[in-house]
């Protein structure tokens, strides 16, 4: 129950943060941080895969509703949610993941979380920006946007973990 409430609160807070603050950050047109992916990163390990997809979809759709881009964020989030179980398998720790434990920065160490977040954020941002442009013209520009935004989002995600864990 606690997890559910916590996740719902996180869901709402992340949407508000994203819509009110981060959507307005556009550094030189190339850096658009999308902190809301943190919600998908931090869903419990034992979330059923199908539920993961549904959550991802609604997370993305909520952002879409606010930024007037119906479907774009949703598709990227669903893609990210789809990859998450495979990524978890790929960079699994020696023991199996413990049930109901949220993966935070210090559960399995900084480098594990860094790898986990990096891959998923990169996947999400790649999907998002490519769908946004909807063509492979000027792919160089899109690539720069993906990389810069991913770095910025990653910094935000890790910073937010530091802030939360210190409390």
């Amino acid at each position: 129950m606690n997890f559910i409430v916590k996740n719902i609160i996180r869901f709402i807070i992340l949407i508000l943060l994203q819509v009110t603050i981060f959507n307005n950050i556009q550094l030189s047109g190339f850096i658009n941080p999308y902190l809301y992916v943190l919600f998908i990163l931090l869903l419990p390990f034992n979330t059923p895969p199908w539920l993961l997809l549904v959550f991802s979809f609604f997370m993305g759709l909520s952002i879409d509703v606010f930024s007037n881009t119906i479907g774009i964020h949703a598709s990227a989030c669903v893609f990210m949610g789809f990859l998450r179980p495979y990524i978890l398998n790929y960079i699994s720790v020696r023991d199996n993941y413990e049930c109901n434990i949220e993966q935070g920065l210090y559960v399995y160490g900084f480098s594990w979380f860094f790898k986990y977040a990096l891959i998923l954020i990169l996947a999400h941002h790649s999907f998002l920006f490519i769908v946004e442009v909807f063509s492979f013209n000027n792919f160089g520009d899109t690539l720069i946007r993906i990389i810069l935004s991913s770095i910025f989002t990653l910094i935000l995600v890790i910073t937010s973990q530091f802030i939360i864990s210190k409390k």
Binding site: P49, W50, L53, V54, F57, G60, D64, T69, I70, G71, I72, A74, S75, V78, F79, G81, F82, P85, V131, F134, S135
Partner: protein, 275 residues
Amino acid sequence: MKNLLQVIVRFHFTILFLIIELVCFLLIVNNNNYHKTVFLNSNNAISGGIYNKVNSFSDYVRLTKINDKLSNENTLLHNLLSENYKLSADSFFFYQDTLFKQQYVYRSAKVINNSINKQRNYITLNKGRNQGIQTEMGVVTNNGVIGIVKSVSDNYSTVLSLLNSRLKISAKIKKNNHHGSFYWDGKDYRKARLIEIPSHVDIKIGDTITTSSFSSVFPEGILLGTADEVLPSSGGNFREIIVLLSNDFNQISYVDVIGDLLKDERLELENEVEK
């Protein structure tokens, strides 16, 4: 059925992912104008390409039929060749332009009878009322004025040749716009006279004589000929100029008949003033 269910259960994650992505893309395409246009455009490109391929194949299959049709058409066209028929179709079109109102319409016609050795020479053309020729239309070649249409029948028209002592047209010296009357004196078929030119007017041999804007028949500036000889004024204030005609009336074969679309308006206005 059982197997299908098993497959669905086994791959439910992937299947669900694909379904949701599909829904997402439907949402994207339906809700974002930009994506919609890109999607539709690429769709057209793909289907267009496929249709092209299909088309080229079916064209190839139908070649025999098309060849038959073409050869039939060739025979038909051979039968329609102009040598076999009297040319009756018009070879002109109206040029519609909102900026410039077309005033003159040119219709080409063939000279089928001509004379130069009489005092009153007439030319017969192979086009008449049915082809849009009316009386008092100007007749020219690209070398200059030929005459004025005098009467028309359904398919023929007679032209008052410039070589007709009854025809007098308004002419001017091109370089200084002095007007005079132009007529043929009935002597030499290559020379005509320009009279009523004031004696002070500067004119030299070789100056160009063209039609003037006073005429309601010819557009301004159509070539009549060049000054060949300037006769001294015989006591009066006017001089006569012998003009070497630019057209060789013995050789004309194709002419253009000029229809003035605004002629009625002009004459109506001028008549109104005279009343």
